[in-house]
């Protein structure tokens, strides 16, 4: 049981930490979920859970990593609940039906990738991210969009650093393929 003064102090501390880290956490929610509405729900649920567990937060650790971890767990739980199957296994089936991983990962033609970059198809990034297996997506977002180190990502994802390295690399390989495919797709069909 805590008194009202302690409660308001707790709120103030939480808000102060949120002001510093909220944008990063919301961006992570958006990139993981792929749209504003789901990001909003995910963000709210993350903050509710974080606030209810605020006593357990270790003040010596980064607040954003703590929120990332909570958010990622909520997201993965929700995906598992919806799909009723493990969606985050490293042994996950290929995201492209009929194409094995080896075939997806192959190819070194850089011109479509260059074109993708040059044409600033940044809006299509989200579509490419959405095609990734969830754990690959989480790892590459935390690494390339949130700027976390492998060690910090390993803590968020509760896995060894070597696994993070592998997931980040696999994600980039898949994204490269997706960017190339999207770049070769006519513009009117890119977002379909």
């Amino acid at each position: 049981m805590i008194g009202p003064e302690e409660e308001s102090f707790r709120q103030a501390e939480f808000v102060a930490l949120l002001k510093k880290n909220g944008d990063k956490v919301y961006n992570f929610a958006f990139r993981l979920s792929g749209n504003e509405q789901d990001a909003w729900d995910l963000f709210q649920e993350t903050l509710m859970k974080a606030y209810s567990r605020f006593e357990s937060y270790d003040r010596s650790r980064p607040f954003d990593s703590w929120l990332f971890k909570i958010l990622q767990n909520i997201y993965l739980d929700e995906r598992r609940r919806i799909s009723r199957k493990p969606a985050s296994s490293l042994d996950a089936p290929s995201p492209f039906p009929g194409k094995p991983w080896e075939e997806i990962l192959a190819g070194t033609d850089l011109s479509p990738l260059d074109r993708f970059t040059k044409e600033e198809n940044i809006d299509l990034v989200q579509k490419a991210l959405a095609d990734l297996p969830p754990l690959y997506r989480t790892a590459v977002i935390l690494c390339d969009m949130e700027g976390l180190s492998y060690e910090a990502i390993a803590e968020v994802m509760s896995c060894p650093v070597g696994t993070v390295r592998s997931r980040v690399h696999q994600a980039r390989q898949l994204l490269k393929k997706s960017f190339e495919d999207l770049s070769n797709t006519p513009k009117d069909r890119q977002l379909q």
Partner: protein, 156 residues
């Protein structure tokens, strides 16, 4: 990649500055002589750049203005109000005291209202002192009057 090439994920680690020591030296030496690995590294760098250039989504502004107002649902996530918070209300203790006092006064008045008529009638009978042996109802009056005016000796 064939076996003569380094493990692919090392390229990403190098790109992210996560490779140190002998592994880094060995990979850099390999890259200087391997065109396909150099191309692969370059393509990974472009992917990383594309992701880094993606616009950042910001948290909705209202969240940072007034915490409870912006996030009323959070209030429900908290535990039930503590006893300390209830009793810290300035008006509550005086209200409870007033309620207790009024209840006590009401109870006392109720009890005394039920006793007053009996006591009044008994006192009246004691003062009139008109014993009539033939009046059965008033035959008890002296006894009651004595009981009221004299202390009871309860010793057996």
């Amino acid at each position: 990649m064939t076996q003569e090439h380094e493990e692919e994920s090392l390229l990403s680690a190098l790109l992210d500055g996560e490779l140190e020591g002998p592994e880094r030296v060995r990979l850099q030496k390999h890259l200087s002589s391997c065109a396909s690995c150099s191309l692969e590294l370059e393509s990974l760098r472009k992917v990383k750049t594309i992701l880094a250039k993606a616009p950042q989504k910001s948290m909705p502004a209202e969240w940072t203005c007034d915490f409870p107002l912006a996030f009323p649902a959070l209030k429900n996530a908290q535990k039930s109000p503590s006893r300390a918070s209830i009793f810290s209300q300035n008006w509550l203790i005086p209200a409870l005291v007033a309620a207790a006092v009024s209840f006590a006064v009401s109870f006392w008045v109720f009890q005394n209202r039920s006793l007053f008529p009996l006591r009044q009638s008994l006192s009246l009978n004691a003062n009139i002192q008109t014993p009539t042996p033939t009046n059965a109802s008033s035959a008890l009056s002296p006894i009651i009057s004595n009981n009221l005016n004299q202390p009871q000796d309860r010793t057996p």
